[in-house]
């Protein structure tokens, strides 16, 4: 079975010859028992291990588990053998939480919030032959039916990711003279790209990556900070689930930077892929098209949530377009109506330029897929990167083609992808600057656009992972 993670993530440090004691940083926990003597280990026919004490007593040994957190911290391997048990993130886990809620006393219950990404919604819409609005409403209906309390759309948190990216770019463009590493600025919403950059190129490339949080993690801040306050709950009393088009988002949610130390809770507790939601529907024996549509929830009291909204600029969030148009306006006073893309060596590598009187003012690109990321990084290393901003995504064709999206064995994948793209594009696009709810939140929740709060809740950091020297280094 092929690994479900993105290509960029799969290629980071796959090693056939790992000596677990040398490469795996998860410390081997040995439970010391009183008494001396050597215990023997017996292997049963079914493969289970039993420790046999000197007195003849036996104890079944636990299977070692590696959680996603450990996985992320380690530079030795990444899920190459498919034996990493993802214990904390699956639709099974969500069901456990919902079941626990049913049995628990009111004070012990957790508020369950699900945030659905526009890409997952488009994939489900294609599968069930529904339009995006009906899909959003019926999904809300489904989740509430099984015990979820609120269902949000990450297109809302994406407003913040885009605004922060725009502001960051303008700031760095203006500060070029003072800082050599200011540009190019590289998009940060894709965790497959971030993991690859941290593990392979480390301190060289990290200063170029935007510190703006991805929509998933901004939603984490919104739900566990703003919404929690509104509901008069501590963040640990909320169980926040996101629905995403890929598995890499599970690793993003597990990052220590997104763990709230004070309340010992993650900003995002569980990431389900589109496929896992589909499995959940099947297990609950629910036919999505047959459900009664429910009204959509909104994080802003004022906004009417009649239909879902989206952003222009493609199925991966529209970072290039938003940053480009904002920069053109802010830096040069030029209004760009339509952004024209010029494909380069392949359809996943395209560029956009802003020219005036023969001079190139802005030179942006989108680079999707590992081969294009490679070329970009190599050019950067040689000082030959001509771009000011690059929207980098690990998956060819972007997020709509993520590894967690629904497949249709009876349809050519190219045709399915085009259908999903069409459905995604049907949703009304909004400009983040024009959304009143967003401005209110900047004012009342974050105390201003460049505040300390905004920096803490809407931005993040990156950490280069040092490559351990192979303990088993057979020097050929």
């Amino acid at each position: 079975m092929a690994s479900p993670f993105s290509g960029a993530l799969q290629l980071t440090d796959l090693d056939d010859f790992i000596g677990p004691s040398q490469e795996c940083i998860k410390p081997v926990k040995v439970e010391k028992r009183p008494g001396s003597g050597v215990a023997k280990i017996r292997i049963e026919d079914d493969g289970s291990y039993f420790q046999v004490n000197q007195d003849g007593g036996t104890r079944r040994l636990e299977k070692a588990k590696v959680s996603l957190n450990d996985c992320l911290a380690c530079s030795g391997c990444i899920t190459s053998a498919e034996t990493v048990l993802i214990t904390q993130q699956s639709h099974e886990e969500l069901k456990k939480v919902l079941d626990a809620n049913k049995m628990a006393a009111p004070s012990q219950q957790r508020l369950v919030v699900v945030s659905v990404s526009p890409q997952s919604r488009a994939s489900l819409a294609a599968r069930f032959q529904l339009n995006p609005t009906d899909t959003a409403r019926k999904l809300t209906s489904f989740f509430k039916k099984i015990g979820v309390h609120f269902v949000f759309d990450t297109a809302f948190s994406r407003h913040f990711s885009l605004l922060e990216s725009q502001r960051e770019f303008v700031r760095r463009f203006r500060g070029q003279a003072d800082c050599r590493q200011a540009l190019p600025l590289l998009a940060s919403a894709c965790p497959g790209w971030i993991c690859y950059a941290e593990k392979t190129h480390g301190s060289f490339i990290l200063p170029h990556i935007s510190t703006a949080r991805s929509p998933q993690q901004v939603m984490g801040s919104l739900v566990k900070d703003f919404f929690a306050q509104q509901q008069r709950l501590t963040p640990d009393k909320i169980y926040h689930v996101t629905v995403m088009p890929c598995y890499d988002k599970k690793l993003e949610a597990s990052r220590p930077d997104f763990f709230n130390q004070e309340h010992q809770t993650r900003d995002v507790d569980c990431v389900l892929t589109t496929g896992e939601v589909f499995r959940l529907l099947e297990e609950e024996d629910v036919s999505l098209p047959d459900l009664e549509p429910a009204p959509l929830d909104s994080l802003c009291s004022g906004a009417s949530a009649e239909e879902p909204t989206s952003h222009r600029g493609g199925g991966s969030g529209g970072y290039l377009e938003h940053v480009f148009r904002h920069a053109a306006r802010e830096l040069f006073g030029i209004h760009v109506a339509e952004v024209t893309y010029k494909p380069l060596r392949n359809k996943d590598f395209q560029e956009v330029t802003l020219e005036k009187e023969g001079q190139v003012l802005l030179h942006f690109a989108m680079a999707y897929g590992f081969r294009n990321i490679q070329n970009l990084v190599q050019r950067l290393k040689r000082g030959r990167c001509p771009y000011h901003y690059v929207e980098v995504m690990a998956c060819p064709s972007g997020c709509l083609n993520g590894g967690g999206q629904l497949q249709a064995p009876d349809r050519p994948s190219r045709e399915l992808l085009q259908h999903v793209e069409r459905l995604y594009g049907m949703v009304r696009a909004e400009m983040p600057e024009d959304v009143p709810g967003v401005q209110e939140l900047y004012t009342h929740w974050l105390q201003g656009t460049d505040s300390e709060c905004a920096g803490r809740l809407l931005h993040t950091q990156y950490h280069a992972v040092e490559k351990a020297n192979t303990g088993l280094g057979i020097r050929w």
Partner: protein, 339 residues
């Protein structure tokens, strides 16, 4: 059989180390060797002996595993365990490293130039095969990263005339790749070997592919186009490859390399039992079920594993070999009488 493989000479190419691979330049006048001493040596003739004309020593941090000449003969590519591939430009007897290709996660095992000269393929222990494109300014860009194999990829080789790439792997399979729109795709997987496939060689026409393996057999595969006369099934518009011959029982250890002479059609193998063998197709053999006979078997060709055999592209019968013993040997192969 008569002594059809005669030793012409030996050179201690990579002393105190292994010699891993050899490559003749397209003109057949120079032989490049590479080894565990991290060096590449270029050999040429002076009278009757082979002398070292250049040493390329500043390119790699670890073993150089393979070398390959560009079709024009002006460039040499070297694949190293240091995870990089160097491109050297030839300027008479001097070689200058003009580019270093990075990106593989660990040891690069092989490098090969496409017949057009514009494309290069590399493969690695990271299980991937990369296709690179070179432009007029000698700039290399990655065109595709292929993750079809499930284990270490040992060797890549291009078809002699088409833009078709073949790779051999520790996962016991051979895979073939071609371009499709703006990317490369795996268009065939050849299964049959029972262990690591170490090397590959196309026949002069490109219709057949020979593979050699740790399972001590050589397999010959034939390409069948859609709607072929023999009724071999093809899926869609991609050709099918079928194993039409297996040479077993000849080798007592792993077969590390195989070379198909583009001039004579002779097939040479390099074996872990220190021997070199040559096979020829029988004259009246059925093209769909060919038979090959062993026409030369030189025991103790080297004092250790033979890692590579390479036919000279211009002089029929001239064969070079190299070994873990660090030596390069030159041989003259003559077809035995009566065969």
């Amino acid at each position: 059989m008569k002594d059809s493989l005669v030793l012409l000479g030996r050179v201690p190419a990579h002393p105190d180390s292994r010699c891993w691979f050899l490559a003749w330049n397209p003109a057949g006048t120079l032989l490049a060797s590479c080894g565990g001493d991290r060096r590449i040596r270029i050999w040429g003739t002076e009278g009757d002996s082979w002398i070292c004309k250049s040493v390329l020593s500043e390119g790699h941090q670890r073993t150089v595993r393979k070398v390959a000449w560009s079709p024009c003969g002006n460039y040499l590519a070297s694949a190293s365990f240091d995870a990089t591939t160097c491109i050297w430009k030839k300027n008479q007897d001097d070689f200058e490293c003009v580019t270093t290709l990075e990106g593989h996660e660990n040891e690069v095992k092989s490098v090969a130039w496409a017949p057009s000269g514009n494309l290069l393929a590399t493969c690695s222990r990271d299980k991937s095969v990369w296709v690179w494109e070179v432009d007029e300014e000698d700039e290399y860009e990655c065109v595709s990263v292929l993750n079809s194999h499930t284990q270490d990829v040992k060797h890549v080789v291009w078809h002699p005339s088409q833009e078709l790439l073949a790779s051999a792997s520790y996962d016991d399979t051979v895979k073939l790749y071609r371009e499709e729109e703006d990317d490369w795709v795996c268009c065939a997987t050849l299964e049959g070997h029972e262990s690591t496939v170490w090397s590959l060689a196309f026949d002069p026409s490109g219709q057949r592919l020979a593979s050699c393996s740790d399972d001590r057999t050589v397999r010959i595969w034939r390409q069948y186009l859609p709607d072929n006369e023999q009724g071999v099934a093809c899926s869609g518009s991609d050709p099918s490859w079928k194993c039409i011959c297996t040479l077993s029982g000849f080798h007592s250890r792993t077969i590390y390399d195989i070379a198909w002479c583009q001039l004579t059609g002779a097939l040479a193998t390099a074996c872990g039992d220190d021997a070199i063998r040559v096979f020829q197709e029988d004259p009246n053999s059925d093209p769909q079920q060919p038979t090959f006979s062993l026409t030369a078997h030189l025991h103790q060709a080297h004092s250790q594993d033979v890692n590579c055999v390479a036919w000279n592209p211009k002089e029929p019968g001239l064969l070079a070999s190299c070994s873990d013993d660090g030596e390069v040997a030159f041989w003259k192969y003559q077809r035995p009488e009566g065969l």
